[in-house]
């Protein structure tokens, strides 16, 4: 039997002030399964208030390197003239702007209305070009599945991660001789 299932990219929002960030991926059979699995994998501990998932194959991505070598075809091919009822699509735009540290992500920056993913990229470059992008992800908005923003769901999905103190290392901090007493120096990477 197939155990692979489609791969879904997961976007986690930590606080209202932060954007949704691409934290990794899960395999799941359907959108709700993907959201639940994402919750169990990426928000057992860290703070979160919302999660989005999208099938990896629905993401159009370009790295800076790729754009330099193969610029996308000029101006989107609009297959149907507007007069015949062409409706532009809404795309969510995600951008990565730093490779300097490990905890840097592809962040949600906003939405654009466009006739194709290539057109959406062009508009994203114009609207969100204030900082150099090392990678762009363009996702048709209707392909994203989102966790329920209602306070009850937010509470039941995300509060247990921080409420269960026995799962936090701080709970054990004062036991025994403190590790720093024996340390000769240790390098740490940026914490989440």
């Amino acid at each position: 039997m197939d155990t692979q299932w489609p791969r879904w990219e997961v976007f986690k929002q930590d606080t209202p002030a932060k954007p949704h960030q691409a934290v990794g991926s899960v395999h799941a059979a359907d959108p709700q399964h993907a959201l639940l699995t994402a919750r169990n994998i990426f928000a057992r501990r860290p703070q979160a208030i919302s999660m989005w998932v999208v099938r990896a194959e629905d993401i159009f991505s370009w790295t800076k390197e790729e754009l330099a070598e193969n610029p996308p075809p000029e101006a989107a091919k609009q297959t149907e003239p507007l007069a015949y009822g062409f409706q532009p699509l809404t795309f969510c735009v995600f951008r990565k702007t730093s490779h300097k540290r490990s905890m840097t992500f592809v962040d949600y920056v906003g939405e654009v209305s466009a006739s194709s993913p290539e057109d959406a990229l062009k508009q994203a470059q114009q609207q969100f070009g204030d900082v150099e992008a090392l990678a762009w992800w363009i996702v048709p908005t209707d392909r994203l599945a989102k966790s329920d923003p209602g306070s009850e769901t937010v509470e039941s999905w995300f509060a247990p991660a921080t409420d269960k103190t026995y799962k936090q290392q701080q709970y054990y901090a004062t036991i025994g001789s403190h590790v720093s007493k024996h340390k000769l120096g240790r390098e740490t990477d940026d914490e989440e």
Partner: protein, 322 residues
Amino acid sequence: MPAKYGLPSDPDYSLRLAEFEARIGRGEKIEPGDWMPEEYRRQLIRMISQHAHSEVVGMLPEGAWINRAPTLKRKMILIAKVQDEAGHGQYLYHAAETLGVSREAMLEALLSGKAKYSSIFNYPTLTWADIGTIGWLVDGAAIKNQTMLAAGSYGPYSRAMVRICAEEAFHHKQGKEMVLFYARGSEKQRQMAQDAINRWWWPALMMMGPHDADSPNSEVLTRWGIKTKSNDTVRQEFINEHAPEILDAGLQVPDPDLHQDDKGNWVHGPINWDEFWQVVGGNGPMNKERLEARRKAHDEGAWVRSALETYAAKLQKATVAV
């Protein structure tokens, strides 16, 4: 995402390799979609998938004690810890997948016995004190290694490591707390704690792998920032922290040659590498049982996967019908 994996036979290989190494030299992370040498990709897939398998198999020795935990508090802690290991396996499979290998292929390699995982999980958990000792020593050794890997050059792997280290710190501390509690307890409890340390100390030291002089992959792994410290360096950090803590607790380290040198480093006696290679080669006390348990879990979960697929197909049909 058209990934670009460079081969030495490519006409622009040396130019691109120089750019790639310069990026690593500047402390930049290599991200999916960036150019990288095929050998960098191969080494990462090898390491990350072994690491993922270790997390998955690592659930077994501890999971065996969930229904025998002495109190509800200890049981909840242990359940949370085992659930973490499952999550760590998934983070890592994902990180490997960004290099163009499928999770299914990796799982098949594990279940068929082709893939390697950390030998530490091929030792049995004989008493409840083993659970605390695994947290303190085995997870303690893992954290030293993972903190080093968190500083590595491949973005998805280093991010997985940062998350895992944060959670492993809980595993380490709950284990230490439990062992120290036993060390202050009854004569029987002290004996249990000492017995567990006696059995886990040496396998924990072997977790960092062979001595630097016998570690064939180290040079290229270090040059490309996959490993940022050598096996012996990480092992020394582990001993320097844990040996004095064990002694402070009134327990013994099972190494008659253990002593502190004039730089303050705790120096260990000879490691039994024959035992290490025996366990790596599949002849450890629990190798067979671990794989059988994984296969059984996989087979017994088949109905869940089948139900999820049936439901997803139904959803799909309903969407198309609309």
